[in-house]
Symmetry: C2
Subunit: 349 residues, 2 copies
């Protein structure tokens, strides 16, 4: 069997991280990379990664997808460009029409039916017409505040409520994330930035909550509600990409709720900030199920978002290739798992 062929579309933090991971795996090959960043176009992928090419085939980054995609030229494309279904939609349809499977990092694609049912139907239709499948995944949404909670309910006879909390550090992240999360801004500017949409905080509660409720058979009373509060620092905090004076914003605390039968059945709590340890906050992922039995899970420290997303997307490649055609979610496919052997061994005939 030939190597599994992968195209990476969007060669930023996630796309390039997936390339690095794929280069260490057996039975898989990166055949093309697409990124519109002028600093990357025309360069060797290996040069951009700072990795030796050795006897591998050269991959020159292209800014034009039409130069890359021909029918069945790859088994799967990893799409790492967008957060919203609206932005990813045209690219996904384009790839599917080339009869290539898609894995998307777009947060909203982790459960696109939550906010984009019509676009989801269209994606599903095109995927089926072309005999390929599409999955949105990542660390969160994708695993921590949704799929993992669902798995743990598998040991429950009854579920009364589910609380997912992810307390993570933004310190490892670069300037884009600092900007998006308002790290370093004045407390007074926070509300304005939320209102004008330039401070999005975490994207994904609507998707995580719908994934959970659909999985266990709860019907949401209506749209989920969410809130977004600044984490005001009491001390000076600093990372390579951010400086926060005491009194200014160190991050964002997002909360979200899903109502079922008039009760708050799902609670999401997600404070993200730089250098949480400076104020005694230790990071971690928590799932608290009230039910029969109660389940109290903690992962300390939190599973890091960057590596986690890179790994989830790469590790799901075989499942997506094996899947029946259509739009899939993490609920439809077998459980994620690391790939320490030859990736081709995981492909069903």
């Amino acid at each position: 069997m030939e190597d599994i062929k992968v195209i990476i579309w969007g060669f930023g933090a996630m796309g390039s991280g997936m390339a690095n991971m794929l280069l260490k795996k057996q039975g898989v090959e990166i055949v093309s990379v697409c990124d519109k960043d002028p600093n990357k176009i025309g360069k060797s992928m290996y040069e951009v990664l700072g990795v030796e090419k050795k006897d591998r085939r050269e991959v020159i980054i292209s800014g034009d997808e039409n130069e890359i995609f021909t029918e069945k030229c790859a088994d799967v494309a990893l799409l790492c460009t967008d957060s919203y279904v609206k932005g990813a939609f045209d690219k996904i349809v384009y790839i599917l029409k080339k009869k290539i499977n898609v894995i998307s990092t777009a947060e909203e694609m982790a459960y696109s039916r939550a906010q984009s049912p019509e676009l989801s139907d269209e994606i599903d239709k095109v995927a089926k017409e072309n005999g390929v499948s599409v999955l949105g995944t990542g660390i969160n949404p994708g695993l921590i505040m949704d799929l993992l909670a669902v798995v743990l309910t598998g040991a429950c006879e009854e579920v009364e409520s589910i609380e997912c909390e992810r307390v993570n550090s933004l310190s490892p992240f670069g300037p884009t994330v600092m900007e998006e999360q308002g790290v370093g801004i004045k407390a007074d500017d926070f509300d304005r930035r939320v209102e004008d949409g330039s401070l999005a905080g975490h994207v994904g509660f609507a998707e995580s909550i719908r994934m959970i409720t659909d999985a266990i058979g709860w019907k949401l009373d209506g749209p989920i509600s969410q809130g977004c509060k600044p984490i005001i620092s009491n001390v000076y905090r600093e990372t390579p990409y951010a400086k926060v004076e005491a009194g200014n914003v160190a991050g964002v605390n997002m909360v979200g709720h899903g109502m079922v039968n008039g009760e708050r059945k799902i609670n999401m709590i997600h404070p993200q900030q730089i250098e949480p340890e400076l104020e005694g906050v230790s990071t971690g992922d928590y799932i608290r199920i009230k039910g029969v039995p109660d389940v109290n899970m903690a992962i300390n420290p939190e599973i890091p978002g960057g590596i986690g997303t890179i790994a989830m997307c790469v590790n799901m490649i075989p499942h997506v290739i094996n899947a029946r055609a259509g739009l899939k979610t993490m609920l439809d496919l077998p459980v994620p798992r690391a790939i320490m052997g030859d990736m081709r061994d995981m492909i069903e005939e």
Copy 2:
């Protein structure tokens, strides 16, 4: 759509617990119960459960499977009679030939290829010939020391080693478990009881370890090694079904290892005892992955084994009905999840 029809074969702690759970669920019906215990034969299932029948159809417990099973008379049979593949094999094949899906609580059925590859091939063949499927599951093996670890590796780029520890209390269990685990016996009798096979300790390490290694693509160097040590109590301990004098056995500490490329890549630690709190032992489930990234998960207290197994088996019913024909494991099917809605909503057309 009609209710999903379930037969329960083996109406002990697990089988009767599943009946209790099923009676609280929508879109599913228990059509027959088989148990060879003379105290149960001929009695109403509702009487044995101590549950009101209301307007449900009567179910009289039968000691003879031939009185119960006709072709396609149910959608799934829950087989709760055995621990070993050898014991469950004839029953599984019998059910499959009636074109009925099977879920088995037998620990070895959770990954039957680990120790019974030929019988597994035969089960797979008969299942496919009859267009139905078979799953072995439970809390452990089935979730805690295997599937959950696999799911968490999904967020890992690399895995170096995996340690699963389950520290649980035997206090809620009855006389069978106390006997099997040697609770209350003299320390001197322990080795003899292990040797003569009357003290089995935990069954399932071989299955859990193979499930993990197959999932992530590691090849085991050879059969797994395991050890079994008495937990000697320093204090007097008592439950409704056991009394342990200081100096005697309060439970069993099982350990197991899987070697990959000459290294101990998988470690299993599973101390089970009554009243662990009396010596300051707190119960819990732990998964520790060394890799990129490290993952440290804890569930405190442990997910209880009885409820957990009952829930896992019932919750997997829709997945097993939906599965393509053949012998399945938890690795092949979508993730487990609680069923809080109508079970029929989870059945694919």
